[in-house]
């Protein structure tokens, strides 16, 4: 122990909450993280609960404990099915689903998200699919999912699902024409231009190096 009143700055640094502040500024709805009171209702309400290495409750605590790498590299947030059960049950009304999506998105932007996670891949494929033409091309999306790990496993997956595919075809709920004459928006150019602008604005607001660049609560 030093003299009375002496401050150990090195020890203090551990409690500086840098990562919490980073999350508050840069992650969608991140300013809510400090409100978690660790009751665990979210963990118990999640349909995929047992599949999360760290439940939302744990993730909130890990953020506050400064476990930056463990949180952003985790595949836990990618287990969220967007069922919003945790959101409506949270006694503090945290928008947990949105925070999980926000953390996953931030990890993706930083290149820290687990590359091989299937839901991460699907999420990116889905967004690219729907923004290319303005509308989802379900057939292309399914094919992308099946063939995501290469041709061989794709053909195997395709074979496994052949009966289902055929039934959908017969029920007119899937159609090979979609590959050649897909549904699409007329003003694709406008959609691409507005999205480009949106990314530009968001990058400036959320990720510019100046502190407190986030939109703040509310």
């Amino acid at each position: 122990m030093g003299a009375p009143g002496e401050l150990n700055l090195a020890a203090l640094a551990d409690y500086s909450n840098n990562f919490l502040r980073e999350v508050e500024e840069r992650v969608e709805e991140g300013e809510w993280v400090k409100m978690c009171m660790q009751c665990g209702v979210c963990a118990g309400s999640c349909p995929f609960g047992p599949d999360w290495e760290h439940s939302p409750q744990k993730i909130f605590m890990m953020i506050r404990a400064g476990k930056r790498d463990e949180v952003l590299r985790s595949d836990s947030m990618w287990m969220c099915t967007s069922c919003y059960n945790c959101v409506v049950r949270c006694p503090r009304q945290l928008p947990i689903t949105q925070i999980m999506h926000g953390l996953a998105t931030y990890a993706e932007r930083l290149g820290l998200a687990p590359k091989m996670n299937p839901t991460r891949k699907f999420s990116l494929q889905f967004w690219n699919n729907c923004t290319t033409t303005g509308r989802v091309n379900e057939l292309k999306l399914v094919l992308q999912v099946y063939f995501r790990d290469g041709l061989a496993s794709g053909i195997r997956r395709f074979w496994d699902m052949r009966t289902t595919g055929l039934r959908l075809l017969l029920a007119k709920r899937m159609n090979p024409f979609e590959l050649f004459f897909p549904h699409r928006c007329k003003d694709r150019k406008g959609i691409h231009a507005m999205l480009k602008k949106a990314y530009e604005i968001e990058n400036k607001r959320r990720y510019s190096p100046s502190p407190h660049a986030g939109r703040g609560p509310g």
Binding site: P47, T81, Y84, T105, S123, V136, R173, G190, M194, I201
Partner: protein, 305 residues
């Protein structure tokens, strides 16, 4: 002139050749009977769904939804935007709430929309078709045109997630919403009073990316319907419908079950009760045939006088 008019946001899955195209067919039939005019928003786009988050981030997602609002305001002024898809409704409604609450987000959104020559004025309301039925038509209004009551059919009302949480239907609880059961009874059908998987998640988009985990959910949802003696499941959500119906064969393979439980949309129930043919009610769009509905739909009833 039609009794009610709305700006229609059908969503990607409801398009012709889409996985929920029979949903749209039955909605059209139902709306015709109820004298509801649905005009599609010209050149509407995808909402991004919940699963697009890793690519969209925050603003791009809101801009996609705001584009539809702006188009509705421009071409169909004064009409509420009505979605039939749970994810479209949720995504659009969330965007509206967020933009209404933040002047900054509203300004940013409009700055981006300007690139597409559009402006969002925050006038359009966003509602689900179920809200239109309950709030604008009412249960009595829905009962009036019934010519073929769905007598003797037991329905498990599977509400699922996104029509129920986080927004839900006004006056309903998140844990045990009753509107689907009430709707079934309005049409003369029997609703299961104890169906504990009513608001369970089907896995959503993760049915594609995490099939093992999602199929466990689907198993619970179908099993409980069997346990309580249901003839079929009814749902308001196109993804719930697709997941719970289409993957039953895979669930059977994985868990050794023998499921063969039809899953229909609420709109198909209304269409059939209103006298639609099987085709008009979209009953030809199923992997597991809803035979009990089919039987009612082909039944000839003496014309009411």
């Amino acid at each position: 002139m039609a009794k009610k008019e709305y700006a229609f946001y059908p969503g990607c899955s409801s398009q012709l050749r889409g996985s929920a195209s029979n949903y749209l067919t039955s909605v059209n039939s139902m709306c015709q009977t109820l004298d509801i005019k649905m005009t599609p928003i010209p050149d509407w786009n995808c909402c991004g769904a919940s699963i697009g988050y890793a690519g969209s981030g925050e603003l791009a997602r809101h801009v996609m939804n705001a584009r539809n609002f702006a188009l509705a305001e421009e071409h169909l002024p004064g009409q509420d935007v009505v979605a039939t898809c749970a994810a479209c409704w949720l995504g659009a409604k969330e965007t509206k709430q967020k933009l209404d609450a933040s002047a900054q987000l509203m300004a940013d959104t409009n700055e981006a929309l300007k690139e597409a020559g559009l402006q969002y004025q925050a006038k359009a309301e966003i509602r689900h078709m179920v809200e239109v039925l309950i709030e604008d038509i009412g249960y009595e209004g829905m009962a009036k045109p019934v010519v073929k009551p769905l007598e003797g059919v037991k329905f498990a009302g599977y509400v699922g997630c996104q029509t129920n949480r986080p927004f839900g239907i006004a006056g309903e609880s998140f844990e045990n919403p009753m509107y689907l059961d009430k709707l079934v009874e309005t049409l003369g059908g029997e609703a299961l009073t104890k169906y504990e998987q009513k608001v369970t998640c089907c896995g959503g988009a993760l049915a594609f990316s995490e099939p093992e985990k999602s199929q466990k959910q689907i198993k619970d949802i179908v099993e409980s319907a069997y346990d309580h003696g249901a003839d079929m499941i009814v749902t308001p959500c196109p993804l719930c419908q697709a997941n719970v119906e289409i993957y039953q064969a895979d669930v059977n393979k994985r868990f050794g079950t023998k499921f063969d439980m039809p899953v229909a949309y609420y709109s198909q129930l209304l269409a059939v009760a209103y006298g639609a043919t099987p085709k008009q009610a979209g009953l030809d769009g199923h992997v597991i045939k809803p035979t009990k509905l089919q039987d009612i739909a082909v039944k000839v009833v003496p014309a009411k006088r």
